[in-house]
């Protein structure tokens, strides 16, 4: 026990004495700070800050870091662990307190970070020494690290939103203003019921959410039934649908809908020429957003429901049939009721997705306002009313958390799906004829429509000016992606290159971090038992239910000023991606780990391996497919994210998605759609490449199967 804790204490002490305590300009890797090191006010370590610049509030940290070195003098493990707990807890509290309370300090830098980590690990060492987590230091440290990260990067920013809501824009406590903003007519007004004026944003949001959730669940069920219960030939092609939302930036569908139904859209112009109908802006508003969201989220419902439909044990249906139920009765009295929890689950997922969606309402919303958009315009618009944004965020958060809570508490334990994975032989009975016809009639036209939409995306970029001049043209691609070959090498002349490379870089940095954190959390949840595990799980999955817009605004509120000052950097984007996508990694990890029998780890433990060795030698090799999937997934999701990103981009770090949205707002659809096609193509290439490299190697029994994006929970929140 002592050696690792002493190591951390030593590292903390060294960091205190030599690493720059505060964040340096241009970051630690720019090395510009070295010229002024170590006596400078900006780049000096804590020791120098305290002694030369009278930042005496830093000084108490040093004796705390040195205290564990005296541990050998203490008798009895009880006294030792108490020492560690006290040192860790008071150290962390002090560092945080002085960061917030003492003004005039820059943001925390590498030195502060290492010292904080050291204090945390000393605390966790103390926990393990006290006998918590079975005395396992790795587990204790892992839980401590995950909890600390989630608290700092999820709970703290969200709490800033809550606090921001009851402050006015000058920062004073204003509960009355909070109440006025919360109960405002533009939020809760019901004018649309009695007049032609629009309803409040809250009602709009819920209405859209319910419509989208119901439609996408129904369509998803139709697709799932076709794939699992009929003899339909092109099942493979339908399954491709499930991969689409993963690689499509969420607002791209909205763009394609405009290309079809907008004032200059293909369908609109055709109807005008054929029937003389005057083009209108009907698509901008509820119909357009609904259409785009259903297109975007049906594949997700499909993916969820494939599992549900397959999960109904055939023997239950066979039991009904042997009791003389015909196909129709079997379907309505056994199959469908057994799917009910799964259907409710898909509905709630669709609801959450719709509420959190930002891109489609932005592109297609028109005068139909939903919460995510209103939040955005409250911050960036002319009003610049961040307390209004905070109030609206709370409303949105209550909706999504309510749905999330319902999904987990109410449905979590009510699944009838058989997941034993063995013993259930037998075949699902074919669908009743009437149901089959209905399912074909709804799903197949929709599949064709989806195909048309994606064709639009691919074709749209090659047209001179959409709606007016449909001649083939490469000018959008040239404008975005031109490369000059000169004697100085390649010059990335196109307008899109800058944001493209930034996106790739940020995503590539975020992906391994996300996968690591996600899998570590999954390991702790799936393989360890400890008190407070339910709360731990809820906390780590929570960010899944926090809409990106809320995360975006919360990060601005929390990380714009010291002690943690990150806005305008690339780091904030990386952190944002890591914590937004972590729940997906956790789920993938849990799914994969639950297929690896626990006795495989136990065999290793009894033979004398520590838990870290067991993870490295037994669990990780078996998890390789899941690791790759998590990597691919977090990479791709980072590349397609928009809602949180749009708050956090800066001149130096512009992302592809926010660049595209900027083009759309300027009416430059050609370039936007060309850029989208390139992004999609790039991601397809990445996914295929990784599939090729990793291959579909199978391991023996009880091992997970190969990498596949199918079966991954998806979300474009």
């Amino acid at each position: 026990m002592n050696r690792a804790v002493l190591g951390w204490a030593g590292a903390g002490g060294i960091a205190f004495a030599i690493l720059p305590w505060y964040a340096t300009e241009d970051g630690i890797f720019a090395l510009g700070w070295l010229s002024k090191y170590p006596l400078d006010r900006a780049a000096g370590p804590a020791l120098v800050q305290a002694l030369l610049y009278e930042r005496l509030s830093l000084l108490p940290v040093l004796p705390l870091l040195l205290a564990p070195l005296a541990i050998r003098r203490l008798r009895g493990s009880g006294a030792r662990s108490t020492l560690l707990l006290t040192v860790g807890a008071s150290g962390m509290t002090w560092v945080a307190l002085q960061g917030f309370a003492v003004g005039g300090q820059p943001g925390i830098g590498i030195g502060g970070l290492v010292v904080g980590a050291a204090l945390l690990m000393i605390f966790c060492g103390g926990m393990a020494a006290k006998g918590a987590f079975n005395g396992d230091r790795f587990v204790s440290g892992g839980i401590g690290a995950v909890v600390a990260l989630v608290v700092v990067f999820v709970f703290y920013p969200v709490s800033r939103v809550l606090v921001g809501a009851v402050l006015d824009n000058s920062g004073a406590f204003a509960p009355r203003e909070f109440w006025t903003k919360l109960s405002a007519r533009e939020v809760w007004g019901l004018d649309c019921l009695v007049s032609s004026a629009g309803c409040g944003v809250a009602w709009n949001t819920v209405l859209l959410g319910v419509l989208v959730a119901a439609s996408s669940t129904a369509l998803g069920l139709a697709f799932a039934l076709i794939v699992t219960r009929t003899e339909f030939r092109a099942k493979k092609a339908l399954r491709v649908l499930t991969v689409l939302p993963v690689i499509t930036p969420p607002f791209v569908i909205g763009l394609a809908v405009i290309l079809l139904f907008g004032r200059a859209g293909a369908v609109t112009t055709f109807i005008e020429s054929a029937f003389g109908v005057v083009p209108s802006r009907w698509i901008y508003g509820l119909p357009g957003v609904w259409l785009a969201q259903v297109l975007a989220f049906t594949p997700i419902a499909f993916l969820v429901l494939i599992g549900v439909v397959e999960g109904v044990s055939p023997s239950m249906e066979e039991a009904a049939q042997t009791l003389r139920a015909d196909r129709w009765r079997t379907f309505t009295t056994v199959s469908l009721p057994l799917m009910r929890p799964g259907l409710a689950n898909a509905f709630l997922l669709g609801f959450i997705e719709s509420l959190a969606d930002f891109g489609n309402p932005l592109v297609l919303g028109g005068n139909f306002h939903v919460l995510s958009i209103s939040i955005f315009f409250a911050v960036v618009g002319a009003q610049h009313d961040s307390s209004r944004a905070a109030v609206l965020s709370i409303v949105l958060l209550v909706f999504t958390l309510g749905a999330f809570y319902a999904q987990r508490r109410w449905l979590g334990r009510r699944s009838y799906a058989t997941v034993t994975g063995r013993g259930d032989s037998g075949l699902h009975p074919p669908l009743p004829v009437s149901v089959r016809r209905l399912v074909y009639a709804t799903a197949l036209p929709w599949a064709v429509f989806t195909a048309v939409i994606y064709t639009m995306i691919l074709v749209g970029g090659f047209v001179e000016t959409w709606g007016r001049d449909h001649r083939f043209s490469l000018r959008h691609y040239v404008a975005a992606f031109a490369v000059d070959v000169t004697e100085f090498g390649l010059i990335w002349k196109g307008a899109a290159w800058n944001s493209f490379w930034t996106t790739v870089e940020i995503s590539a940095i975020a992906a391994p971090l996300t996968a690591t954190l996600g899998l570590l959390t999954a390991y702790l949840l799936e393989r360890q038992r400890f008190r407070g595990k339910e709360a731990f799980e809820f906390g780590t999955m929570l960010s899944f239910a926090i809409p990106g817009t809320v995360i975006g605004i919360s990060y601005i509120l929390a990380f714009n000023t010291p002690p943690i000052e990150l806005t305008g950097t690339g780091i904030i984007l990386v952190i944002c991606f890591v914590f937004r996508n972590m729940p997906v990694g956790v789920r993938a990890g849990i799914a994969a780990m639950s297929q690896i029998d626990r006795s495989l780890d136990e065999a290793s433990l009894t033979l004398g391996a520590r838990s870290l060795t067991t993870i490295r030698r037994v669990i990780l090799p078996l998890l390789r497919p899941a690791i790759v999937a998590a990597l691919v997934f977090s990479f791709v999701r980072a590349m397609t994210a928009i809602s949180a990103v749009i708050f956090l981009v800066s001149a130096n770090y512009d992302m592809a998605t926010s660049y595209i949205v900027g083009r759309v707002e300027n009416g430059d659809y050609g370039l936007a759609i060309a850029y989208c096609s390139v992004l999609i193509a790039f991601m397809v290439a990445v996914v295929l490449l990784i599939q090729l490299v990793v291959g579909r190697r199978r391991l023996g029994r009880r091992a997970p199967t190969a990498v596949s994006l199918e079966g991954q929970p998806t979300s474009s929140l």
Partner: protein, 345 residues
């Protein structure tokens, strides 16, 4: 290594899995822990391994208390029901795992792995060391798992229903094999099973558990022929139970009365094995050392080696095994007095 547990308690919410278990496991002996599912036998084994943190009591390996030690510091090795061989490693890597953790030189590792694979009699299969576990049969996989456990020379060998995943024939053969290996190595072994025949066949000592407590422990012969409670008698072998009233000199069962010389008085349970009883159609006088029960034969099943007869006696159905079939109607059940057990109900 002698293993002792003292007053072990483990609760899961409101369920008490171990309710004050105290036991000694003889050094070099094979102890079978037997009991119905949910009796706490697996919890006991897993608390010995260190996977279950007990709520009370002590675990001692020899003089050393290991109650608070994590699994990896206890020096046990475990054989699992589903083998738990690592599918991504070869047979050699599986067996060598524990040795490599101990940082033994490669040559030593190789020598010891080869020796232990010979010991479990799969060393001669060609190229076995480079195969993956999935390429072996179930029985072979379990032999590899045994080898992996034995090769590190653990202080205690723990076996968690190691044979229940195998088909009957392989199970019979491996049962003898496990006992031979355990004796050859001379290791303290603790073997959890729910199969009473397996426990009797393999163990030096059988511990019978029920509802988190030890019901009885002793040699297989002892526990089989001198059950101390109705539960033990019932669990070991196909047994009949009749409710009655014990009095001085006899037990009343409904309208019938059997001679009885024991000490139990009042409401009692009468127990005897189906194999110990026999049937006769005609009225006969009780032979010396036997007692008679009258009843009606209701049904008969052919089980291969014997016929099992279901006889209705005073409103309850009992079973009587015999090599010859008996036809239906009124019958007399003959039970040796020595095989008849009476317990206070």
């Amino acid at each position: 290594m002698e293993v002792r547990v003292e007053g072990l308690v483990k609760r899961y919410g409101r369920v008490t899995a171990l309710d004050g278990v105290s036991l000694g496991f003889a050094s070099g002996g094979l102890t079978a822990i037997l009991g119905p599912s949910g009796c706490g036998k697996t919890t006991l084994l897993r608390s010995l391994a260190g996977f279950v943190a007990v709520d009370g009591g002590r675990i001692l390996f020899g003089p050393e208390e290991v109650t608070a030690l994590p699994p990896q510091a206890r020096g046990t090795a475990m054989v699992f029901q589903h083998y738990a061989l690592w599918p991504h490693m070869t047979v050699f890597d599986n067996v060598a795992y524990g040795l490599r953790l101990r940082k033994l030189p490669d040559a030593d590792v190789r020598r010891r792995v080869e020796r232990v694979l010979d010991l479990v009699e799969i060393g001669r299969i060609t190229g076995v060391m480079q195969r993956r576990p999935a390429e072996l049969s179930g029985g072979q996989q379990q032999r590899v798992a045994l080898a992996r456990a034995l090769v590190v020379e653990p202080r205690v060998l723990l076996l968690d229903e190691p044979l229940s995943n195998l088909d009957a024939k392989v199970r019979q053969r491996l049962r003898a094999e496990v006992r031979r290996l355990q004796k050859a190595v001379g290791i303290t072994a603790i073997y959890v099973t729910h199969d009473q025949e397996e426990a009797l066949a393999i163990a030096d000592t059988v511990v019978l558990m029920n509802a988190g407590r030890v019901v009885q422990s002793g040699s297989p012969q002892e526990i089989y022929s001198r059950p101390e409670s109705a539960f033990t008698a019932e669990f070991l072998g196909v047994s009949n139970q009749l409710a009655g009233i014990a009095e001085a000199g006899g037990v009343r069962i409904g309208a019938q009365r059997l001679p009885y010389a024991g000490a139990v008085r009042g409401r009692a349970t009468l127990i005897f094995r189906a194999t110990d009883a026999s049937l006769a159609t005609d009225e006969e006088e009780a032979a010396p050392g036997h007692t008679l029960l009258r009843g009606v034969l209701e049904e008969r099943l052919f089980l291969g080696s014997v016929y099992r007869h279901y006889v209705r006696v005073e409103g309850e159905t009992i079973m009587v095994d015999g090599t010859e079939p008996v036809e239906g109607g009124p019958v007399t059940v003959r039970v040796p007095v020595a095989k008849l057990q009476v317990y206070a109900a």
